[in-house]
């Protein structure tokens, strides 16, 4: 089992979510997060350009069985990449080993609980 964490652009959420559903990856957790990357995102307040220190992003957490890692990752990459081959700020994907997964209702453990 793996835990896949993806940091993506806010505006790409709908697109990524729809693509994941099409790929039958339907169990996801979504968070609003802020962070530092290499991207600069300009806001304007009373005529002054402001570069926020922290840029709003969306974080997806998806726990999957090993055989679904590739399709999940490829789907996210395809849907979250900006037009014309990607831009700074499109985000990152982290994959971590997942020790255990428990479904609270039935108390079942492991791959079948995902």
């Amino acid at each position: 089992m793996k835990l896949i964490t993806a940091i993506i652009r806010e505006e790409m959420l709908d697109q990524v979510r729809e693509a994941l559903i099409d790929a039958e990856i339907t169990r996801i957790t979504v968070n609003r997060v802020s962070g530092h990357g290499r991207q600069e995102s300009l806001d304007i307040y009373r005529g002054k350009k402001v570069v926020p220190n922290l840029i709003p992003k969306i974080r997806l957490d998806i726990a999957v069985n090993d055989e679904f890692v590739d399709i999940t990752v490829n789907t996210i990459i395809k849907a979250a990449k900006s037009n014309s081959g990607g831009k700074v700020g499109d985000g990152k994907i982290f994959i971590m080993p997942l020790e255990e997964c428990i479904r609270i209702r039935t108390e079942e453990r492991g791959g079948s609980a995902i």
Binding site: R9, E10, E11, M12, D14, Q15, E18, R32, V33, S34, L42, D43, I44, Y45, P52, N53, L54, P56, N83
Partner: protein, 443 residues
């Protein structure tokens, strides 16, 4: 009824200044009571615009809240400036081009009304500013139909053109002394405070624009939840308060007619809200807050054309009828699948049509008697119904057709529909470089 606006008002004042003819001054008496109420009404109607901004702003997703509120606020800038330059002249000047719109050179920049007092005893400035507020809120209402998916510059151009060639002519036909709907039938089409001019025209225009521009990305599959219903409720409250200026102010006086209109307004809004709650409760099992305020609006919209001619029981009936019809219209929208995002047509179009038509059956006897006298003895409610239907159809056809042409023009020139990338990122960031809800993220 709105009183006939006499061009002689301005002309007489000008004459007075030029000749310094003092005895004429006695004939123009300023009514300070009426003036005070009309000043208040003018402010109340303006209050409806930020009220509408809050109402609409709360209903869209958080990435579009600034863009949506700006649709209302921008109208305060654009329409107010246009109104002073040519709008008042086009609306209340003498009919030109076969009565298409009005024209009165001394109204350009309001230059000729500096000292004018109208026959109703109020300065013409007050009347002009009061009417100007209606010209502001009408295009702002349209924005609800195509919320969350238009380019800002396209929107600004659209409302400017719409105000000039849709609102001003309609206003002229219905409210100016020589407008053809003002004089239709025995005593004119009844549109006390803007059922046809404001709500039907805005609702139908919104529908046409929404259908032409297409649905928002993901509609109706993706759930688009309101960002802040609390703000929507406060906005609806401001709209109700402001509506007293809208309707009771439209008596252009401070007296019996004002009180009648104010009472009808209160009763219709309350009945609309209750009936909506009841219908929704029976249909869905829960009474929602958004349903309650939608009922308030449906009632207020329906009583707008009727406030001057119906008694409280009639106003109550109108509010109830409008709520049921608007509720059905919104169900119908979901069936048909067009994306009238915030139900500009579902509430303002349908509510306005319902009010303008059904008011016929609740007109107070004294009005019908006066109409009969004007017609030379006989005037039935069926004849008046005919006049009302014609006025409604004129508003629907004219606003619908011209809006289609304008949307086409704006889309092909500066562009009205937002690019998919901008729409996904949200209007706030894409067109304004701002974020409405800073506190949603650590910053």
């Amino acid at each position: 009824m709105k009183r006939k606006i006499l061009y002689s008002g301005a002309a007489a004042a000008l004459l007075l200044m030029m000749t310094g003819n003092l005895w004429a001054a006695e004939e123009i008496v300023l009514d300070s009571g009426a003036t005070a109420w009309m000043l208040t009404s003018t402010a109340l109607v303006l209050l409806m615009v930020p009220g509408l901004a809050m109402f609409y702003g709360g209903l869209v997703r958080s990435k579009n809240v600034i863009g949506t509120m700006m649709h209302s606020f921008t109208a305060m800038g654009v329409m107010a400036v246009l109104w002073v330059i040519v709008g008042y002249s086009m609306s209340f000047g003498k009919g030109v081009l076969g009565g298409w719109f009005g024209w009165e050179p001394s109204y350009i920049f309001l230059s000729g009304i500096d000292t004018a007092i109208m026959p109703q005893g109020i300065p013409e400035y007050v009347f002009s500013m009061f009417q100007g507020k209606f010209a502001i809120i009408t295009p702002a209402l349209i924005a609800g139909a195509f919320a969350e998916r238009v380019r800002f510059r396209g929107y600004v151009l659209f409302i400017a053109l719409w105000g000039l060639i849709v609102y001003n002519p309609l206003c002229h036909w219905v409210w100016s002394g020589d407008g053809f709907l003002f004089n239709m039938g025995a005593a004119g089409a009844i549109d006390f405070a803007g059922g046809t001019v404001v709500h039907i025209s805005a609702g139908v225009s919104g529908l046409v624009a929404a259908v032409y521009l297409g649905a928002r990305r993901g509609y109706p599959k993706t759930a688009m939840r309101p960002s802040n219903l609390v703000m929507t409720l406060m906005g609806a409250g401001l709209l109700w308060v402001g509506w007293f200026g809208f309707n009771a102010g439209s008596s252009i006086s401070s007296g019996l007619a004002t009180a009648q209109a104010l009472t009808a307004t209160q009763v219709a809004a309350a009945a609309g809200a209750l009936v909506w709650m009841l219908v929704e409760g029976l249909h869905q099992g829960k009474a929602t807050a958004l349903g309650f305020v939608s009922g308030i609006l449906a009632g207020l919209v329906a009583v707008t054309p009727a406030a001057g001619v119906v008694k409280p029981a009639g106003a109550m009936a109108l509010g109830a009828i409008a709520s049921v019809l608007c509720y059905l219209a919104i169900i119908m929208k979901d069936k048909l699948g067009y994306d009238d995002s915030l139900d500009a047509f579902g509430i303002h179009g349908v509510g306005g049509i319902a009010g303008a038509i059904f008011l016929t059956f609740f007109i107070r006897k004294s009005w019908m008697a006066a109409a009969a006298a004007a017609a030379g003895g006989q005037w039935s409610i069926w004849q008046q119904l005919g006049v009302q239907v014609v006025a409604v159809l004129v508003a629907i056809v004219y606003a619908g057709l011209l809006t289609y042409l304008l949307v086409l023009l704006v889309e092909k020139t500066v562009g009205l529909r937002a690019a998919p990338q901008d729409e996904m990122a949200g209007l706030d960031h894409s067109f304004h470089g701002e974020h409405g809800y800073g506190m949603l993220n650590a910053s």
